[in-house]
């Protein structure tokens, strides 16, 4: 009797293990196609030789070349757009960091009335529909001379990155044990050394995560840039949009799509360790 039971349970675990492997293989296979295929197709499209068009019913392009890449870099505004994108992003991240730091400190470590309300207000840029904000903020910007200006663009991108920065930093400040601060105070730590030796080191992972989110938000920001920045300033997303609109050129769009996503994916793998602790869900899990 006991023996039978034993066999049944081991059999049960064995089937479960097989089932698990089957499931894992299924999910990985589905995801490889789901994520990999669209990217692979884009890579192929970006390498199509201009003299040998890739059309139905060919399964693969006849001849591959880098001609489309050269064309995009030579004859479109991509280089200028890249410069704009990658100078707006760090500036807006920096500004968002300085604006977020005191706010996140108060939200994470102090008790006060209306805290929940403030936590929700912080999410406004994410909750509010982007195009409405873009269109009517552009009217405000126009009256202050900020529309079509570089500084206005930085302000707009800062606005979109702030919610991530504040929420993630707030979660990090909350996580610092009070004991550590009390101990430091008992040992006579000054405010300065408390900031330098406790707060900054302990919020560093969160800070990095917040910066990554704010940075990627800025790189892919479209609505505000499109309304407030173009035509004076073009970023990579607005250029891509122009290639997807009236003059749809698949090969050029492929090149620009790859230019936009490759740095982002590289960054994803660079910060994998941070993402694993799920800062995004911890900070956005509640409205």
């Amino acid at each position: 009797m006991r023996r039978d039971e034993f066999t049944i349970t081991t059999l049960g675990t064995q089937t479960r293990k097989n089932l698990y492997i089957l499931l894992a293989a299924f999910f990985i296979l589905v995801q490889l196609v789901w994520v990999g295929l669209p990217i692979l197709m884009t890579v192929l499209w970006s390498l199509v030789h201009p003299d040998y068009p890739w059309s139905y019913p060919q399964m693969f392009p006849e001849k591959l070349s880098f001609a489309q890449w050269r064309f995009v870099f030579r004859y479109t505004n991509i280089v200028r757009a890249l410069k704009t994108s990658y100078s707006v992003a760090p500036l807006s991240v920096l500004l968002a960091f300085f604006l977020a730091l005191p706010t996140a400190y108060a939200l994470g470590r102090k008790k006060f009335a209306g805290k929940k309300l403030f936590m929700t207000l912080v999410l406004l840029p994410i909750i509010m529909p982007g195009m409405v904000v873009a269109l009517f903020l552009s009217r405000v910007f126009t009256s202050f001379g900020l529309a079509q200006s570089f500084f206005g663009l930085v302000l707009a991108h800062t606005l979109m990155g702030l919610p991530y920065m504040i929420r993630v930093l707030t979660t990090s400040f909350e996580a610092i044990p009070q004991d550590v601060i009390d101990a430091a105070e008992n040992l006579g730590a000054t405010s300065f050394s408390k900031i330098k030796d406790i707060f900054l080191p302990m919020v560093r992972p969160g800070l990095l995560a917040g910066m990554v989110f704010a940075f990627t938000t800025s790189i892919e920001e479209f609505n505000l840039t499109f309304i407030i920045g173009t035509p004076t300033f073009e970023t990579v997303p607005t250029i891509l949009y122009s290639f997807l609109g009236y003059n749809f050129i698949r090969t050029n769009a492929s090149v620009i799509a790859l230019i936009m996503m490759v740095p982002n994916i590289l960054m994803l793998f660079a910060v994998e360790r941070i993402l694993k602790s799920d800062y995004l869900s911890a900070s956005l899990g509640k409205l």
Partner: protein, 285 residues
């Protein structure tokens, strides 16, 4: 939390962050509302009027846009959760191959929305690989029209592809808070896999499901870029109609009315979510 009483100075700390957000978002909402009533008008005279509201509320085309965007919002959030939930459930506990799977799944999170749109457009276009494969397998006779289709399936597909990892992250954190004891107890009492799913996983993950549903709805309802490249020729999404009304036709007052409609819908849906969340968590969340 610090024990000493905090005074007025704490609120000063909030000014840089919260103040910045409230100033910019608040002023844009203020302008949207006032301009929908004809105040702060750029063109013509500024005068209080409800004409724009009357004109738009009776407008069949605007109604079509609102309905289309609502449809996109609901379908995108339902679709994304449907795809993300099984994955989140599977990734709940560690195991061989899961680290690889988790990184693989997250890739679209870091692919900008417009790029995602383009990637999927390549696949679902008339002679795209999806149609080719379906025709080759004799599943369909003629290629399907999935891009710029009348219903908007192309848009839903793009939204789902892009947002599965985002929803997955939120769902994962609410699933992680479910304790194994609960599941073991249920299993000991004879609960099957389906019962465990229906009675434990889904109810306990409900707060996460609701948050992701609301965030997805807002994203898809107010979408401009994806609908404009992959959506149907008619109707345009409400955000697309609003932008065209403002920028192409220079009818800012009418665009403002559409803006207020978008904001109000977003608020109503968010409020419904809050009520639902209260109901589900018994008022604790």
């Amino acid at each position: 939390m610090e024990r000493q009483r905090v005074g007025f100075s704490t609120y000063l700390f909030l000014i840089p962050g919260v103040g910045f957000i409230v100033l910019f978002i608040g002023s844009s909402i203020f302008i949207t509302i006032t301009q929908s009533f004809g105040l702060f008008s750029v063109t013509g005279t500024s005068q209080f009027t409800i004409d724009h509201w009357v004109a738009l509320l009776g407008d069949r085309e605007s109604l079509d846009s609102v309905l289309f965007s609502l449809k996109m919002g609901f379908l995108s959030s339902a679709g994304t959760i449907l795809f993300a939930f099984p994955l989140a459930l599977f990734l709940r506990k560690g195991g061989t191959g899961k680290r690889f799977l988790a990184s693989l799944v997250k890739i679209p999170l870091f692919i900008p929305a417009l790029v995602s749109a383009f990637l999927i457009i390549n696949l679902i276009s008339y002679h795209g690989i999806v149609n080719e494969v379906l025709v080759a397998l004799n599943l369909i006779n003629r290629p399907l029209r999935m891009l710029n289709d009348r219903f908007g399936w192309g848009v839903v597909g793009i939204q789902v592809w892009k947002n599965v990892p985002f929803v997955l992250l939120i769902l994962a954190s609410s699933l992680a808070s479910i304790r194994d004891d609960t599941i073991d107890a249920a299993r000991n009492l004879g609960a099957g896999a389906i019962q465990i799913l229906a009675k434990i996983f889904i109810p306990l993950a409900m707060p996460g499901i609701l948050v992701s549903a609301i965030l997805m709805f807002i994203k898809a309802f107010g979408d401009f870029a994806i609908t404009s490249v992959a959506g149907p020729v008619y109707p345009p999404s409400i955000a697309l109609r609003m932008r065209n009304t403002a920028s192409l036709f220079q009818e800012w007052d009418k665009a403002a009315v559409l803006g207020v409609i978008i904001i109000l819908t977003t608020l109503v849906v968010t409020w419904l979510y809050a009520k639902l969340a209260e109901f589900v968590t018994g008022g604790e969340g």
